[in-house]
């Protein structure tokens, strides 16, 4: 379960205002909204990577906003995250990147890590990429390596920032279905930020929409289509004319 209460966050200027998000345990939460509306910042705040200005965040039984370093590290052992820019370690090969959380978090032996990495890469559609360096991959391939690294520990809480940006429709569909199936299999709590609205809505149980740093809608997917908020309606239908 992920809960935020009146969360506000500011760098030089305010980014999040009074966000009260609630993601039920074991659900797949789709978060969407226009560019620069604070989705990525919210995701990083949930992982305790950015300090909140006000309000609180709870992930499972950890209060992220008041946790000390050890509690946060403990929480992150149960968390996986895909960053918007993938954040692959560019001095490591693909296999080392994907194996990194296994080695650091779970102390898995090198032998077992190699096995799991190659399985993982096959599942995201990149078999045989182990020894490639991130610099030589296309945008979509980097994304998939990022997904493999985020999910390799089978964490209970997974945060994906744009998992399918730069992927063709067929690969995106496969990847979204993979994320969905794995979420069902492990009963994990997953938050996905994506601008591919159609596919995101097709797999989400709950959804939320951000606009200018505010969460203007959240709830089960069925409530989205009956929502009469003009901003939400325009965005979901992808119309160019409207209040946005």
């Amino acid at each position: 379960m992920i809960l935020t209460e009146h969360l506000s966050l500011a760098f030089e200027r305010p980014v999040l205002h009074d966000v009260s998000l609630s993601v039920p345990s074991g659900s797949l939460f789709g978060l969407f909204g226009p560019g620069a509306s604070g989705k990525s910042v919210l995701l990083k705040a949930l992982a305790g990577l950015l300090p909140a200005t006000a309000g609180s965040i709870a992930v499972d039984d950890t209060i992220v906003t008041s946790a000390d370093e050890h509690q946060l590290f403990d929480l992150r052992r149960r968390m996986g995250m895909l960053f918007q820019n993938n954040a692959l370690f560019d001095f490591m090969s693909v296999a080392e990147n994907v194996a990194f959380p296994l080695r650091q978090l779970l102390d898995v032996s090198a032998e077992e890590a190699r096995e799991r990495v190659s399985q993982r890469l096959t599942r995201v559609g990149l078999p045989g990429f182990e020894s490639r360096m991130p610099a030589g991959l296309s945008g979509g391939q980097k994304k998939r390596v990022g997904v493999a690294r985020a999910s390799i520990t089978q964490a209970k809480v997974l945060l994906y920032d744009e998992p399918c940006a730069g992927l063709d429709p067929v690969s995106s569909q496969k990847l979204f279905e993979l994320l969905r199936n794995e979420q069902r299999e492990h009963g994990s709590t997953v938050v996905i930020v994506s601008s591919d609205l159609e596919r995101l809505l097709a797999i989400s149980d709950h959804v939320g929409m951000m606009l200018d740093g505010r969460l203007i809608f959240q709830g089960p997917i069925d409530n989205l289509y009956t929502c009469d908020d003009p901003y939400v309606r325009q965005f979901v239908r992808g119309e160019t004319d409207g209040p946005l």
Binding site: H17, S22, D68, D212
Partner: protein, 304 residues
């Protein structure tokens, strides 16, 4: 904690607001330019943040550390961290490899220049060259070798560390490390710190020796001082060697710490990496000069 809004309704506690007014944007821009951390500029219609929940002080949430915190955390991990001998060896090789020739050339020329200029001054006062070598070697051991080498290493090693960690910061790689419950200080800074201390000592000894040899050659070529007269360690006592070594270790520790803390505080894009690198070199140089002064003074108090 409970969800404050009934699911499924547009969050009622979020009054709609249009894009921030141009005035608010301008002030935000001005704040960004001046690079000063400012509080929350209030937006029109925005509810007062913190009215519903008390302002929190986050303890564990990572924020850029200053150089002092970076140092204490690095020392903490040096004691408590996992062994990382191979990584440290790797960085030692990199530091040595990229700086050895550079330092050798610089120090050889410095040796020639100092002995030549010093000799000229000496000729004017007492045309007795027998103490030229002894004085020069004392200067070299106590101060010159370590300080000049460290200033050069700041441009070479310091800039490298700041640029590397800076670009890792702006591409979220540092956050990705944190998500793997790995402290970037432990994983990235500690091995560089240890490698830099060892290699600074080694490089200073090698380059300092070269400076001595080039000085010896200059003394013979310009002032007809025989090498057997020039190489005279009478003026160098244990205290001088201690002070010189202390300086090596202090500089070797300061360069990676200062560079890493500026690299880790890089913000924005390539511009942020650039300014972090510049800041690293400037701050390292300043720190070296200040440390030089402090250690020299302490040496005077202890040994004289």
């Amino acid at each position: 904690m409970a969800p404050s809004d009934p699911p499924g309704s547009p969050a009622p506690s979020s009054p709609r607001h249009k894009a921030p007014s141009s005035a608010a944007r301008a002030s935000a821009t001005a704040a960004r330019r001046s690079m000063s951390p400012v509080g929350l500029p209030q937006l029109p219609n925005a509810p007062v943040p913190g009215a519903a929940a008390p302002r929190v002080k986050s303890r564990g949430v990572s924020q850029p550390l200053g150089a002092y915190r970076t140092l204490t955390r690095t020392l903490y991990f040096c004691v408590n961290g996992r062994p990382a001998l191979r990584t440290v060896m790797g960085y030692m090789y990199t530091i040595g490899n990229q700086s050895l020739i550079f330092l050798a050339v610089v120090m050889s020329f410095i040796g020639m220049i100092v002995v030549y200029q010093g000799g000229l001054q000496l000729l004017r006062v007492i045309p007795d060259m027998s103490q030229l070598g002894a004085t020069y070697l004392e200067l070299l051991v106590k101060d010159l070798a370590a300080t000049i080498c460290a200033l050069m290493l700041a441009t070479r090693v310091g800039a490298g560390i700041a640029a590397e960690l800076g670009s890792m910061t702006v591409t979220e790689q540092i956050d990705a490390l944190r998500m793997c419950a790995t402290d970037p200080i432990d994983y990235l800074v500690r091995p560089r710190f240890l490698a830099s201390i060892v290699m600074t000592v080694v490089l200073v000894i090698v380059a300092g020796t070269l400076a001595g040899l080039s000085g010896m050659w200059t003394a013979e070529a310009f002032f007809q001082v025989r090498p057997s007269v020039f190489v005279n360690f009478d003026q160098v006592d244990l205290g001088d060697v201690c002070v010189g070594l202390c300086k090596c270790v202090a500089y070797g520790a300061a360069i990676p710490i200062i560079s890493a803390s500026s690299g880790l505080s890089a913000r924005g894009g390539s511009e942020g990496v650039g300014s972090a690198t510049t800041r690293a070199v400037v701050n390292c140089s300043l720190a070296i000069i200040v440390l030089d002064f402090v250690i020299t003074s302490l040496g005077y108090v202890v040994f004289e």
